[in-house]
Structures are given as structure tokens and as C-alpha cells.
């Protein structure tokens, strides 16, 4: 039982969200919204608050997270940094693009891939979890193409499984491009695969115009969920040994965050919980200051930061990136609360290892390049890749790493490490 204490903690956390949704939005409305989400397309940007209501969105997100944790228990895995990162990323993106069937079909594909490679499924589990970025592949074929419903469903499942099979070999190879300096590696992988998928679909005359479902998000429930979650984790972090937790938390800020940096191993559980709570609160404040709506996609960004604060992100390596994004947005006269800019600000933290390893200036430049690029990458692939920032971040990281590598190998120029 002791082994599963953290698993239980996370399951209870998501159960509380489900019960609160029922309580605030009503059981009938919540379930109705949840069902609507399951049978709707979910390309970028599909704010599920518009599509299925806030209650239905949180039910979808919490159920998917609980299913992930159950899978983790079945595979007898400990709750580690990557587990926390993947579960909260799934939760966040299930507020704007992922639904249960689309995610499960991709997991089946990754499972088949593990059988082909004669590996255990556990060896590809994080590729499966993060690979659900390509959920829109299922939904576009099933719900957007004009075919008979059964044929659409069959082809949707089939293509999602094929994509799932292709994910592990591609994800493993793509790691080498950016060498672990892009935290959302599967985001880059999904972007890479989406280039092919979207081109095939466009050649078949499928219209891949981006969606524009973006709610104003002024609801009190969705506004409170992030600060409350952060405070719960901060309290859980400092409950037993507050002094130790704070000391470890300060030490944790020295970690560069390069993939894979499991803060639960490199630091401690308490310091990691503190890092999750404090870093997410900082970004929540930024969301408030920039007057951005607190809707499905913005919450998705905040919960992804929450999760990755256990797997690579800390205050020291994230802030330079945010400053790069902020300054560029101001100079280019882009509204800080427009969808691409606020999502870019939140998800640009994928580049945290760059500033963690090479210092403030490189992190700042990473943020600048990221926000310039990310506004266009979603259009390249017709919104098929939910981790659009992972794709743009991967391209930026690959570019910067290539330049630094070249400098170091030619003129013996050393950047801070």
C-alpha cells in the first residue's frame, strides 16, 4: 500500500475535481458535455469549455488522468517526475483536444509497436502518454470527413493505431535532433509526423483550416483550480519538514532541467511539490497580469507547467524564456492575451533546459525565436499536433544547439554550463 501512496494521492485529487464539477455544474450537464466532447473533432484550437462546458471538460480530463494512473499501477511503476509530467500534461490537453477514445487508440498503436520491437509496453509508456498529442488524427478522420459513420470510425481507429505504431521509432530518433534540450520531445515528434499526415490529407482535398474555439473563461471554478492545486501541493511539500523542503527547493533551482531530469530523484518529493506549486503560481500571475482568459487551453498550459515542474522546469530555467517571449510580443505589438501569444508564453517553457544549461541569454533568445515561430507551426500541420509548442520548441532547440555545438567545436568557445 505504501508503494501506491502517491498514486492514491493523485487519484483522490482527480476524483475531487470530478465531484466538484458535478456539484458546481450539475451531474446531467457535466455528463452531457462529456459525451459531446467524445463525439466532436478536437484539432487546434478546440477549447472544450466551448464544446462541452466546463464540467464536461474537467470530467474528460480527470477520467483520462485516472485511466493513466491505473495503467501506471498495472505496470507497477512508481510515481516519478516523468509520471507526474505525463499525467498532468494529459489532464491539461484533455481540456482542449484529447478525448478518451482518441487517446486509447493511440495507446493501442504504441502497444503494438512494443510487440513488434519485442519490448515490454512499460518501455514505451511515456511515448504512449505524451504521444496522445496526435489525438486529432482520430477525430479528423472520424468526425470531419464525409463518409458513413461506421466507415469513418473504422478508418479513424485504424489510422490512429498506425500513427501510434510509428511514434516510438520516431520519438527515439527525434531526441537526437535537440539532444534533450526540448522538454516536449513527443511534441516535436508529433509535429514531424503531422507534416506527413497533413500533407496526405491536403492532397486528398481535406480542408485543414485551423479551429478557433476560444472561450472568455471568466468562471470562478476554472479560475480557482490552479491556485488551489498549487497551494495543496505547496502544503503537501512543506508539511513534514518545512526547513528541509525549502533548502532542497533552493538547491533544485540549480538543476539545468535537460531531458530526462527527474526532480523526485535529483532532489526530493517535498521540494518537487514546492517547485510545482510555486512555479505554477508565478505563471498563473502572468496569466492574470496579461488579462488572458482562464479557459481550457490556458489551463492546459498551466497544468503542463505544473506537471513538468517535476521533470525539468524550475524558476531559474523558465523565467529567461518567458522574458524572451514577453519582450518580443511587446516589440512586435502582439496582444499578450491573444491565443497564440499566451499559449506560446506558457508552453515556451519546453525550452527551459536551454537557459538551465547555457544561461540567461541563450534562454532569452530561445524565448524570442519560439514566439516568432510558434504562431505559424500550427498552420503548417493543420492543427493536427496538439503539442504545437513542442514542435516549435524542438525546432528552436535544434537550431540553437547546432549553433552552440558548432561554436564549441570550431573556435573553442565555451558557454556557461
Amino acid at each position: 500500500m505504501q508503494k501506491f501512496k502517491l498514486h492514491l494521492f493523485l487519484i483522490i485529487y482527480f476524483m475531487i475535481i470530478i465531484f466538484s464539477s458535478f456539484l458546481v455544474f450539475g451531474i446531467k450537464e457535466t455528463i452531457k458535455g462529456f459525451i459531446r466532447i467524445q463525439i466532436s473533432p478536437g484539432r487546434l484550437i478546440s477549447d472544450y469549455f466551448v464544446l462541452g462546458g466546463i464540467g464536461g471538460s474537467f470530467l474528460n480530463a480527470s477520467l483520462l488522468s485516472i485511466i493513466s494512473i491505473i495503467l501506471i499501477i498495472i505496470l507497477k511503476m512508481d510515481v516519478s517526475g516523468p509520471v507526474i509530467a505525463s499525467v498532468f500534461t494529459i489532464f491539461g490537453f484533455a481540456l482542449f483536444g484529447k478525448n478518451i477514445i482518441s487517446v486509447l487508440t493511440l495507446w493501442i498503436g504504441v502497444y503494438i509497436s512494443s510487440l513488434i520491437a519485442r519490448k515490454k509496453f512499460i518501455e514505451y509508456i511515456f511515448i504512449a502518454f505524451f504521444g496522445s498529442a496526435l489525438s486529432p488524427v482520430f477525430s479528423i478522420i472520424t468526425f470531419e470527413l464525409t463518409m458513413t459513420p461506421y466507415l469513418s470510425l473504422f478508418l479513424g481507429i485504424l489510422f490512429a493505431i498506425i500513427v501510434g505504431i510509428l511514434l516510438p521509432p520516431t520519438a527515439i530518433y527525434v531526441l537526437r535532433f535537440h539532444q534533450g534540450y526540448n522538454l516536449y520531445n513527443v511534441g516535436m515528434t508529433a509535429g514531424f509526423l503531422s507534416l506527413f499526415i497533413s500533407s496526405i490529407l491536403r492532397n486528398l482535398n481535406v480542408d485543414l483550416k485551423l479551429f478557433d474555439l476560444w472561450s472568455e473563461g471568466k468562471d470562478i471554478f476554472s479560475t480557482l483550480i490552479v491556485p488551489l492545486s498549487s497551494i495543496i501541493f505547496i502544503i503537501a511539500g512543506i508539511l513534514k519538514k518545512p526547513k528541509n523542503a525549502v533548502e532542497e527547493f533552493i538547491k533544485l533551482q540549480k538543476e539545468n532541467g535537460r531531458l530526462p531530469s527527474d526532480f523526485l530523484i535529483l532532489s526530493s518529493k517535498d521540494a518537487t511539490f514546492l517547485n510545482m506549486g510555486i512555479l505554477t503560481l508565478i505563471y498563473f500571475l502572468y496569466v492574470l497580469i496579461s488579462r488572458s482568459p482562464i479557459n481550457g487551453p490556458v489551463l492546459g498550459g498551466l497544468f503542463t507547467i505544473f506537471g513538468f515542474a517535476a521533470f525539468g522546469k524550475n524558476i531559474r530555467n523558465c523565467i529567461p524564456i518567458l522574458l524572451g517571449v514577453f519582450v518580443t510580443s511587446i516589440l512586435l505589438n502582439k496582444p499578450l492575451n491573444s491565443p497564440a501569444i499566451i499559449l506560446g508564453a506558457l508552453f515556451s517553457t519546453t525550452l527551459a533546459p536551454l537557459s538551465g544549461t547555457f544561461g540567461f541569454f541563450v534562454g532569452f533568445i530561445g524565448g524570442v525565436l519560439h514566439i516568432i515561430l510558434v504562431q505559424y507551426t500550427a498552420g503548417w500541420v493543420g492543427g493536427l499536433n496538439l503539442y504545437n509548442n513542442g514542435f516549435a520548441g524542438g525546432l528552436v532547440a535544434t537550431f540553437i544547439v547546432a549553433i552552440i555545438d558548432w561554436f564549441e567545436n570550431t573556435i573553442n568557445f565555451k558557454l556557461k554550463k
Binding site: 505496470l75 511503476m77 516519478s80 516523468p82 519490448k119 515490454k120 512499460i122 518501455e123 514505451y124 509508456i125 511515456f126 511515448i127 516510438p168 520519438a171 527515439i172 531526441l175 537526437r176 539532444q179 534533450g180 534540450y181 539545468n256 535537460r258 531531458l259 530526462p260 527527474d262 530523484i265 544549461t357 544547439v401 552552440i404 555545438d405 564549441e408 554550463k417
Partner: protein, 124 residues
């Protein structure tokens, strides 16, 4: 990952780690048999007990199949950034660091279930 590829990646990552301290001597020994492999890497850099402890903490992570098959592929691929012995720690049966006074010895054992590492050691 093919065994040869795995050995090359491990040697590359450990060599990266050793060379960061600019030693004047590095020796790599490989003992391969049917049931397993013993890799021993030596250098002549004197390290403090604190440094040895830090290295041991980083490598004593135990086998982690959920990480090794995916992120383990980063091992030995590049020389940009710090060398990371934990990438190796997940993939191998056992890894240890011995302070020899005039340098360190990193022992790495890779093997099947029947593998007994006591049979694979380098005599002093």
C-alpha cells in the same frame, strides 16, 4: 538496442564523463562472456570523497525500463552539455564507482538474469 550499440553508447558517455576532468590517463577494459559483460573504466584524476559520493548518488538509480528504452537513447550521442551517468545507471545490471586514491574506477555490469557479477571482476 543492439548490444554493440549499447556498449558503444555506454563507453562514449562514461568517456565523456571522465574526459571532462581532463585526465592524462584513461583505460577502458571490456570483458565479454555469454551471460554478460563487465566494463571497467579507469582514470588518474584525484577526487574528494564528496565528489565520489555525488557520482554514486547520480548512478545508483537502479534499472528503469520505462526510462532506459526511451531517454536512455540520449546516452553517448553528443558531447554538448554535461555527461550524465544516470542515463547509464537505468540501463545496466549494476554500476559502481571505486576511489583508488590516484583516480577512480567505474565498474559496469551488463547481463542476463543468470548473470553473476562476482565472476566478472578485475583483480587488484
Amino acid at each position: 538496442m543492439k548490444q554493440e550499440e549499447m556498449i558503444i553508447k555506454i563507453i562514449s558517455e562514461v568517456a565523456h564523463f571522465i574526459l571532462q576532468k581532463d585526465p592524462s590517463k584513461m583505460v577502458i577494459s571490456l570483458h565479454k562472456e555469454k551471460e554478460g559483460i563487465h566494463l571497467a573504466i579507469f582514470d588518474n584524476v584525484v577526487r574528494t570523497e564528496d565528489e565520489i559520493k555525488k557520482i554514486k548518488n547520480r548512478i545508483s538509480v537502479g534499472q528503469k525500463p520505462e526510462l532506459s528504452s526511451y531517454y536512455g537513447n540520449l546516452a553517448g550521442n553528443d558531447l554538448l552539455g554535461e555527461a550524465r551517468l544516470d542515463l547509464i545507471g537505468w540501463q545496466v545490471k549494476f554500476i559502481d564507482v571505486i576511489n583508488r586514491g590516484n583516480g577512480i574506477q567505474i565498474d559496469i555490469w551488463i547481463g542476463s538474469e543468470n548473470f553473476e557479477r562476482n565472476k566478472f571482476t578485475i583483480p587488484d
